[in-house]
């Protein structure tokens, strides 16, 4: 009789057990989630799309380019790849505003393995102080070049590292990217060929749009991929206006 009464007034033992189990499972899964969350948060090398806004960015100096880049500018640290099949397509003109801002911050620009002699009068014309520039000559092995790039990216006095490489593997790029993150430095790699699995923050391609010979000052830039970017975009910007004036 008592048992019947109990069964009517209170939930059955099975029901109680099943409820408790669900609660415990829920609790343990919450615990597990929070600990995983903590673990993930503690890893600085883990990039999260939600944190894109937290990374400081500098304007590129070109409004059109700012518009297609996430956070409207270059990140202050990380790795950026510029894919250009030929030299002289405006790859350095694109970085003049950035170089000026880096020098203004009192940091150095390191050029690793430039394909030809870096011409100081041109740098001066662009307003870049050559006192703040160091060059690692191209006559070194690829292994030494990568070692130099990594060392420079880890160095806090270097604000910008520019390097010219034909192609780099994903593993190497990832290593360089981590070095740049550690040193708080921005690295630009000028490459001839693209690496689709590259972990770099931004990948750009300077395209040839000079089908006719009337657009000397114009360069077409395509965003291949960017952390936090939505889709590939292409813009054209004017780079060389002062060169059109005859002496």
């Amino acid at each position: 009789m008592r048992e019947n009464t109990e069964s009517h007034n209170s939930p059955s033992r099975e029901a109680l057990n099943s409820f408790n189990t669900a609660e415990v499972n829920n609790f343990s899964s919450n615990m597990c989630k929070s600990s995983i969350e903590k673990l993930l948060l503690s890893n600085d090398n883990l990039w999260r799309a939600s944190e894109i806004d937290k990374i400081k960015h500098n304007s590129t100096g070109y409004k059109n380019l700012d518009n297609i880049l996430p956070n409207r500018g270059w990140p202050t640290r990380g790795l950026i790849e510029i894919v250009n099949q030929y030299h002289g397509v405006g790859e350095l003109q694109l970085l003049i505003p950035l170089m000026l801002s880096v020098i203004k911050q009192g940091k150095w620009i390191l050029w690793v393995c430039p394909p030809h002699t870096v011409y100081a009068p041109a740098l001066q014309q662009a307003g870049i102080d050559t006192n703040e520039i160091l060059i690692v000559d191209k006559a070194i092995s690829c292994k030494d070049a990568l070692w130099s790039i990594e060392k420079a990216l880890r160095n806090k006095s270097c604000g910008l590292v520019l390097t010219w490489q034909t192609w780099l593997s994903t593993k190497v790029l990832r290593r360089l990217q981590l070095a740049a993150e550690t040193g708080g430095t921005l690295g630009f790699i000028f490459k001839r060929r693209d690496n689709k699995c590259s972990p770099s923050n931004i990948r750009l391609r300077i395209k040839n749009i000079t089908s006719s010979f009337h657009d000397f000052d114009e360069a077409s830039i395509a965003l291949i991929k960017a952390h936090g970017g939505t889709q590939a975009k292409c813009i054209s910007i004017k780079l060389y206006q002062h060169h059109l004036q005859s002496p």
Binding site: G106, T117, Q124, T130, D137, I209, L244, Q245
Partner: protein, 480 residues
Amino acid sequence: MYSDIEQQYFLENLYANQKKSAKAFPQREEKGRFNEIRKTINSDSLWYAIYFPQFKNLNETQKKNYLSQLAVLVKKISSNITIQKQAIVCEVRSALRYFSGIDNIHKIIKVPIESKLKELQLPQYFSYAACPTVTGSLLLARSGKKTLVYRKKNLRSALGKLPISVLELSRENFRKLNNMGVHSLRDLWILPLSGLQKRFGSDLITTINKALCLKPEPILNFTEPPNFSICHVLPYEIEKISQLMPVVEKMLKESCQFLRNHDLCITSFQVLLSHLRKTDTTINIGMRLPNRSLKHFSKLLRANLENLRFSSPVITVKLNISEFETFHGYSEALSLGGDSRRGGDNSDLIELMEQFAARLGKDSVLKVRTTPSYCPELAIKQLRYDQIGSLRIEQEIISSTPRPFMLLQNPKELTIKNGRLYNKENIIIISGPERIETQWWNVSDVLRDYYVALERNGSRLWIYRERKGTKKWYLHGYFS
């Protein structure tokens, strides 16, 4: 060998001319001051001077270097050594009993000094003398007379015999004194010193007073330059750098301890690796700024060793440090205000440059600067790592006409296809010409017309046409 001068030649004369002497040596008039000075002079000192007349034609750096090397040899008889002009002077009174007289002292140092002079490829002779004052012994040694004056009271008579040439006066002063009939120092004693001072300056009077022990002689004691050398004979042969590094790091740690103990730092060190039946490998590490950090030394050495291939296993490791600098500490907390951007703390960058130079070689780390030249290839100067004296370089004024970021070291000849300029693809000229005519004073004068051009593939080029000879077209740069 020595003529012990015990003459009282001038003492009587000195006593008779007491008033005159008092005028000549003003210190004597002030009794208190004179006594005070006397107190500073150690009356028991006996200074042994070794004079090297053959050093006269050497430059100052060589003199200093050679005398330092010779002074080290004298260390065995005295710890009180001073380096003078072309001479080493050491205190030997305390060593007289230990070495049983001055003759033995001379015998002990004669052989090593002569062999050192032979090693330095210099004539193997020197003159020497001893007396109670540094200046006095130096004057006696300069005269070439091997004189020993034990007692201070005999200084005046001994020095009086010396010709005035030992004072090494200027030609003008020497001539003046000769015209006055002054040929020896004894002739100077009788002259009023106030007049001498007026005519010949105070240096002459000071020298005489010092030589006669009437004025204190502050001397700079010679200290042997520090030297650090350590050698490890390995118990087994080493072929890998990973095995070698712990040994070298241990040696570097000892060197850093040495530097810390002596309050020194260094700008270079040398590691010598001896191989079995092969020539030694020498690794020279240089730094832009003095340093004594073990971490930095290890980094530089590792950077250098990583590119090294051993011809055969290493059996001995030697670490040599020969040049030292005084350590100057600094406090970051004390760097007040100023331009933080150019705060001078380039230590990070300097370390990086040193690492690059250690691994890649000094020729691989460069800086560029402009030079005032119309010739494009001469308008730039590349400075090597070791040529960068100061990190900041003053820039020259440049041309306002467009210049490319990248300049080809050797201009590339362009071809003409179907009446059009051609590199990898067709080229058209955008602007120009900019005429450059320079270097006419050289055999290879520059006569060019420069143009800004565009290649069909999108490359912006800087091209020129020779205005002499075959009038060919060349690619000279990229407007990257």
